[in-house]
């Protein structure tokens, strides 16, 4: 009988790996409180809450945050509609080119972001479309579709045929069946997919650098600070806030789809 307990070496390697994944993120939380404002000195010479107030009063941070939220909300809404339609079609019928449709949905996230970015940029250039909030949204919605699609397609598969037939036997037409049977069943999967799409869009930077004009989303703002640090303490605070804000939808999506075979987030 192979032993049912992990060897000590395996345990140490596994937990060391997890530590490697988490320590850098925890470090961000300490740096948000440091009194040092010119270098990345460790250990911090002192701790202060001052930078939270400074960040709160920065209009550029607020503008970037507002734009990010707006872009994420609209892209998520578009992705929810398009992703659900696609999932419904793929899961309800076998048709010619079905595999191609799944591939097409996954492609924007399977290819490196820079390809998606430069492809969109050259297309907007060729089409004479000026770079604006709209072009950012076009890009984001494109790669958010896959997240909604993945969650919805897994749930559609679990809706049983007999349930839909029973609904029809009881006199419901297709729309009523959708409203009273299908929607309640796929609701949490859509909510989870929407949350993940929101998190994905909120954080996206590579495609955005190619599709944005003068507008700065929060990740673009952070990127500028990373390349040319001017406001290190403010960046520290914003970084910590971003971590906290993205954790919420991820935890939410996990609890909504827990127990199913398709726990959300596996295929970012």
């Amino acid at each position: 009988m192979p032993s049912d307990r992990a060897s000590l070496g395996l345990k140490i390697a596994a937990f060391a790996g997890l530590l490697f994944l988490h320590l850098p993120i925890l470090l961000i939380f300490v740096y948000a409180f440091t009194t040092e404002d010119r270098t990345y000195q460790w250990p911090p010479p002192g701790l202060t809450l001052k930078w939270f107030g400074v960040t709160w009063n920065r209009p550029d941070v607020w503008e970037a945050l507002t734009l990010s939220l707006k872009v994420a909300a609209i892209s998520t809404a578009l992705a929810l509609v398009l992703g659900t339609l696609c999932a419904a079609a793929v899961s309800r019928a076998r048709f010619f080119g079905r595999e191609t449709v799944s591939l097409l949905v996954i492609l924007p996230i399977a290819l490196p972001g820079i390809i998606t970015g430069i492809a969109l940029r050259s297309a907007f250039n060729l089409g004479g479309i000026p770079f604006s909030t709209l072009t950012i949204i076009l890009g984001h919605a494109t790669f958010c579709i896959v997240v909604v699609y993945n969650n919805a397609v897994a749930r559609f598969r679990r809706i049983s045929g007999p349930m839909l037939e029973a609904s029809a036997d009881l006199g419901a037409n297709g729309f009523q069946t959708f409203r009273y049977i299908v929607l309640p069943n796929i609701g949490t999967a859509l909510l989870a997919g929407g949350m993940l799409a929101f998190a994905l869009s909120f954080d996206e930077v590579i495609v955005t650098t190619f599709t944005a004009g003068q507008q700065a989303t929060l990740p673009i703002w952070m990127l500028e600070e990373l390349v040319r640090p001017r406001q290190r303490p403010v960046t520290n605070v914003v970084a910590m806030m971003v971590v906290l804000v993205t954790f919420l939808p991820i935890l939410g999506a996990y609890y909504l789809t827990r127990g199913g075979s398709e726990t959300a987030g596996g295929g970012k």
């Binding site: 009988m1 192979p2 049912d4 992990a6 395996l10 390697a13 596994a14 790996g17 997890l18 490697f20 994944l21 988490h22 850098p24 993120i25 470090l27 961000i28 740096y31 270098t39 990345y40 000195q41 460790w42 250990p43 339609l85 696609c86 079609a89 449709v101 097409l104 949905v105 399977a110 290819l111 972001g113 820079i114 390809i115 998606t116 430069i118 492809a119 969109l120 940029r121 050259s122 297309a123 494109t142 579709i145 297709g174 729309f175 993940l196 954080d203 930077v205 590579i206 190619f210 990740p219 952070m222 990373l226 970084a239 971003v242 971590v243 993205t246 954790f247 991820i250 295929g267 970012k268």
Partner: protein, 307 residues
């Protein structure tokens, strides 16, 4: 309600009698979107890579030529391709090694709450902000940062200095060396390796391990001859992510690394300040070709069953 039913009933009947109509209505919006916005853009990119730039005027000549692709093979450009590919391979191998114990423990030994803990412990870093993760490493690797402090603390600064003195991969400090770039890539893409690897390890049947044990195999032999071959598809699936993401990234080497370029930076520089869109497009085609080849090999090895 009755008025609504009068409106929806005929439609509903139509969908029932002619399911294809519904299918087309469902598929049309997402397909139109993806084909117009995405495939259209990719095509536009591909077309541009066959144009060239006039050396005297700096304007794009809109006629078919392979000249731009030939430029990729000039030493300066070809170095970039090689450097990026080697980095992607190194990151992929290191990620596979570090992921294995985590994935194996989570798949074989973690139960109940422990399993949920492992799942979230991988998922949260995966989904936390990419830029924040890169920023965290800028803090860690800085000369005055925590790593130097820790190395000094255990009295190993001589070792660190010796590593930094190495040619090519060393540098003035970790944050401006290839080692630094490698560490950040490894950190940021690690969860993409753990998840598919764990999925494939979950599928190794317990009785197969018992059979191996009954036939007298040691732990090491079971690992080598039973578990590793069955984990291979998951590992290849994970490597698709780590490889592809490293090939296409231009932000990490820009923030942590030496000044030598990677493919992504070359694409960004050529389309931006240099204004050489055809060369940028040709550079962007390189990862597509490498990944196409990689996916073709992976498909033959059956990696997609583990996705």
């Amino acid at each position: 309600m009755a008025a609504l039913a009068r409106l929806t009933d005929p439609l509903s009947d139509l969908f029932w009698r002619r399911p294809r109509v519904l299918l087309v209505l469902l598929l049309a919006p997402p397909l139109l979107w993806l084909v117009v916005v995405y495939i259209g853009s990719l095509a536009a990119l591909l077309v541009q890579s066959f144009f060239s730039i006039d050396e005297f005027t700096g304007l794009i000549k809109h006629e078919f030529t392979l000249k731009t692709y030939a430029e990729l093979f000039r030493p300066a450009n070809f170095d970039i391709v090689i450097r990026t590919t080697v980095m992607a391979a190194a990151v992929t191998i290191a990620a596979a090694i570090i992921s294995f114990p985590i994935a194996y423990y989570a798949a074989r030994y973690a139960r109940g709450r422990m399993k949920a803990f492992f799942y979230l412990a991988v998922m949260l870093p995966l989904w936390s902000s990419y830029l924040v993760k890169v920023y965290a490493w800028k803090l860690i690797l800085a000369k005055e940062g925590i790593l130097t402090w820790a190395v000094d603390g255990i009295g190993a600064s001589a070792v660190l200095n010796a590593i930094l003195a190495l040619p090519v991969i060393g540098g003035n400090s970790l944050s401006v060396s290839y080692i630094g770039t490698f560490l950040v890539f490894l950190y940021v893409w690690l969860p993409y390796m753990i998840l598919p690897l764990q999925a494939s390890l979950e599928r190794v049947p317990q009785n197969l391990l018992e059979a191996s044990d009954d036939l007298g195999a040691s732990r090491r032999q079971t690992l080598r001859h039973v578990i590793l071959p069955m984990a291979m598809p998951g590992m290849i699936a994970g490597s698709i992510f780590t490889f592809s993401l490293t090939l296409g990234d231009y932000i990490i080497p820009q923030i942590v690394g030496s000044s030598r370029n990677f493919i992504g930076q070359a694409v960004y520089a050529h389309q931006g300040t240099a204004g050489n869109i055809p060369l940028a497009a040709a550079f962007a085609v390189v990862p597509i070709v490498i990944m196409g080849f990689y996916l073709w090999v992976a498909k033959r090895k059956g990696a997609f069953d583990a996705l």
